[in-house]
C-alpha cells in the first residue's frame, strides 16, 4: 500500500485537530492507538473535557429555580447551550430544542407523547430496514400498545433504500414516518429531504434519527423540513447522557408531557397541575446540566473546525479507505451506497468479526464488531455481524494504512 497524494486538500490544517483529543495520544498493546469506532462513540476534545470540569470547579448549582450567583451562572450556561444548538441546526425557536438523555430517549419521547395517543388499529408507522434498534423498538412498543402496524421500507444489496413502491406505501394509512439520516451499520446517507417532502404532501409528520447525521454534515432542520430531529451528544464529541430532540413548535405544543417532575410544571396541586411552556414541559427533573454545557462546547468545537471542512476531509478518507479495503483478498464490503458517510462495514474470508476485532485491537486498532444494533440489516445480508471502521474528523490516512496492515496480519493468522 502506498499513501495517495492529497496535496490539494485541507488535510494539513485539519490534521492538527488530532492534537486536541487526549485519548488519541496513548498506546494500546504497545501500539499508538488508531481509533476507528467514532460511530459508536466519539472521543472528546480537551475543550469539552475542560468545559465540564471547569463548570464543576466554579459554576455548578441547580438551574432555573435559584436566585444565587452559582445557580444563575449554571442557568445561563445551560440555556446558552440551548441557543447554540438552536443556531447550529437552524431551528426556528429555542423552544424547539429539548434536552434529553440521548437519541434513544428523543425517539421514545416522540413515540409515546406524539404517536401513542394518535394511532390505533389500521394505522401504520413507517420505518426502514436499515434503522438502528433505537429507531425500531420504540415504534414496536407503540404498535403493541395501540394496535398500529409497523411497515418497513426495503433496502437493496448496496444498502440503499429501495423507494420504488414508496409512494404507495406512504399513501396506505401511514400516520408517521421515522427514518435514519445516516445508517450506522452501512453508512448510507438517506434521501431524507425527498422523503420528508413526499410525506409532507400527505400531511404525515417525519422524525429523522440524526445520531449519525449530525457529526458528519451541516444539518439544517428548516431546510430538511422535518418535524422531529433526534441526536446524541456522545457521537458529536460531546458528553454521554445528553442528547437533543428538535421538534416543530406546533407539534410539541399539542403533545402531553413525557415525564412528570420538577421544572416541567407551572403549578402543582392535588386538584390539578399546569404544565410549563416549551421547552420545559419536556424537561422533567434536574437536567444533565454539565452534559448540556459540554454539548455546547462540542458545538463550538465543530463550528470552529467547520462542518464543511470536516465533511470534505472525511469524504477523502472514506474514498481512500474504501479503495484500500477493496484490494484486500477475501474481503466483502457491506454497505456500498452511492452516498455514504465515513463508515465501512466488511467481512474477511470466514473470520468471525469478533475474532477480527480482537486481532486488530491487539495491534492498537479499535473497530466495532457485531450487529451494530441493526440486527435487521444483518438478517438482510444473512450474516451474524460485520467489522466496522468508522472515521471522524481526527482520523488520517495513516490510520487507514494501519487498519489495512492489521487486517493483513489477521488473514495470515487464520490462513
Amino acid at each position: 500500500m502506498t499513501q495517495l497524494q492529497h496535496s490539494e486538500s485541507n488535510i494539513e490544517s485539519i490534521e492538527s485537530c488530532r492534537d486536541d483529543f487526549p485519548a488519541l495520544h496513548q498506546d494500546i498493546h504497545g501500539h499508538s492507538i488508531v481509533y476507528l469506532d467514532s460511530a459508536a462513540s466519539a472521543q472528546q476534545p480537551l475543550s469539552v473535557i475542560n468545559a465540564v470540569a471547569d463548570y464543576h470547579r466554579h459554576d455548578h448549582a441547580n438551574v432555573h429555580r435559584g436566585v444565587h450567583t452559582l445557580s444563575h451562572r449554571a442557568t445561563e450556561a445551560y440555556e446558552g447551550a440551548r441557543d447554540k444548538i438552536q443556531a447550529f441546526i437552524n431551528a426556528a425557536s429555542r423552544r424547539e430544542i429539548i434536552f434529553t438523555s440521548g437519541t434513544t430517549e428523543s425517539v421514545n419521547l416522540v413515540a409515546q407523547s406524539y404517536c401513542r395517543p394518535r394511532v390505533g388499529r389500521g394505522d401504520k408507522i413507517l420505518i426502514t430496514h436499515l434503522e438502528h434498534h433505537s429507531n425500531i423498538v420504540p415504534w414496536q412498543l407503540v404498535c403493541e400498545q395501540t394496535g398500529a402496524e409497523l411497515i418497513v421500507v426495503p433496502i437493496d444489496a448496496s444498502g440503499q433504500l429501495d423507494l420504488e413502491n414508496f409512494d404507495e406505501m406512504l399513501a396506505d394509512s401511514v400516520r408517521f414516518v421515522a427514518i435514519a439520516h445516516v445508517s450506522n451499520a452501512l453508512g448510507t446517507i438517506n434521501p431524507v429531504k425527498d422523503i420528508i417532502a413526499k410525506a409532507g404532501q400527505l400531511g404525515i409528520p417525519v422524525l429523522v434519527d440524526g445520531a449519525q447525521g449530525i457529526p458528519h454534515m451541516d444539518v439544517d432542520v428548516a431546510d430538511l423540513g422535518c418535524d422531529f430531529y433526534a441526536f446524541s451528544g456522545h457521537k458529536m464529541f460531546g458528553p454521554t447522557g445528553v442528547g437533543v430532540l428538535y421538534g416543530r413548535e406546533s407539534l410539541l405544543n399539542d403533545m402531553p408531557p413525557y415525564q412528570g417532575g420538577g421544572d416541567m410544571i407551572l403549578e402543582v396541586s392535588f386538584t390539578g397541575t399546569t404544565y410549563n411552556d416549551l421547552p420545559y414541559k419536556f424537561e422533567a427533573g434536574t437536567p444533565n446540566i454539565s452534559g448540556v454545557i459540554g454539548l455546547g462546547a462540542a458545538v463550538d468545537y465543530l463550528q470552529n473546525v467547520g462542518l464543511d471542512r470536516i465533511a470534505r476531509h472525511e469524504q477523502e478518507l472514506l474514498t481512500y479507505m474504501t479503495n484500500q479495503l477493496a484490494e484486500i483478498k477475501g474481503i466483502k464490503l457491506i454497505g456500498t451506497a452511492a452516498h455514504k458517510a465515513s463508515v465501512q462495514s466488511f467481512l474477511i474470508d470466514d473470520i468471525h468479526p469478533h475474532d477480527l476485532g480482537t486481532i486488530l485491537d491487539h495491534q492498537g486498532v479499535a473497530v466495532r464488531t457485531g450487529h451494530h444494533c441493526a440486527m435487521p440489516v444483518m438478517e438482510f445480508y444473512r450474516i451474524p455481524g460485520t467489522t466496522r471502521a468508522s472515521l471522524a474528523l481526527y482520523n488520517n490516512f495513516a490510520d487507514i494504512d494501519r487498519l489495512v496492515t492489521a487486517l493483513d496480519k489477521a488473514r495470515r493468522l487464520f490462513a
Binding site: 504497545g30 468471525h352 469478533h354 475474532d355 480482537t358 491487539h362 451474524p384 495513516a398 496480519k409 493468522l413
Partner: protein, 158 residues
C-alpha cells in the same frame, strides 16, 4: 506509510492455537440432537454469538450424547466443540465439575489449581490474556450448566 512492528503476535498465537482453529473450522458434534433430554440456549449479546446445546442423559444421569448448533466466533465455537468432546460419557456431577474448573480457570487469573485433568480444554488457556473474550470461551459451559439444571430460558453472558 509507517511500518507497523507487530511484536505481540505470541499472545494472539496463544489465543488462536491450531487446535482452537481446527475445532472452530470443523466443530465436532455439530447439529441438532433429535432425542435430546436436556437443552439450553446460550446468547452473547456482545458479539451476537448464539448457540444451542443438546444433551441426552440416560436413566443413570450419564451424558450419553451431546451436540450443539448455532454460530459464533472461533473461540465460542471451538469451546462448544471441545465441550461436547469432553462431556460425553460423564455423569452430571462430573460434567458440572468441568464447568466449575473451566469457568474458574478463565475468570480467576491467579488460578492454577489442577483439580481435573483438563486435557484438550487447556487449548482455551490463551483466552486468559484477553479478558474481553472470556465470555466467548465460557458461553457453551454456561449453557451446559443451564441444561443440566433443566433451565429452559436462554442464558446470556451479560
Amino acid at each position: 506509510m509507517s511500518a507497523v512492528n507487530i511484536n505481540s503476535g505470541d499472545e494472539l498465537r496463544e489465543l488462536y492455537r491450531e487446535l482452537i482453529l481446527d475445532h472452530a473450522r470443523n466443530p465436532r458434534h455439530f447439529g441438532k440432537l433429535e432425542d435430546a433430554t436436556h437443552s439450553a440456549e446460550g446468547i452473547n449479546p456482545l458479539c451476537g454469538d448464539k448457540l444451542k446445546l443438546y444433551l441426552r442423559l440416560d436413566a443413570g444421569h450419564r451424558i450419553e450424547d451431546a451436540a450443539f448448533e448455532g454460530s459464533g466466533c472461533a473461540i465460542s465455537v471451538a469451546s462448544a466443540s471441545l465441550l461436547t468432546d469432553t462431556v460425553i460419557g460423564l455423569d452430571v456431577p462430573g460434567a458440572m465439575s468441568y464447568f466449575t474448573a473451566i469457568t474458574r480457570r478463565m475468570t480467576d487469573v491467579e488460578s492454577t489449581e489442577e483439580v481435573l485433568d483438563l486435557d484438550k480444554l487447556l487449548a482455551l488457556e490463551g483466552v486468559r490474556e484477553f479478558p474481553s473474550r472470556i465470555k466467548c470461551a465460557t458461553l457453551a459451559w454456561h449453557a451446559l450448566k443451564s441444561a443440566l439444571l433443566s433451565h429452559t430460558s436462554p442464558v446470556t453472558t451479560e
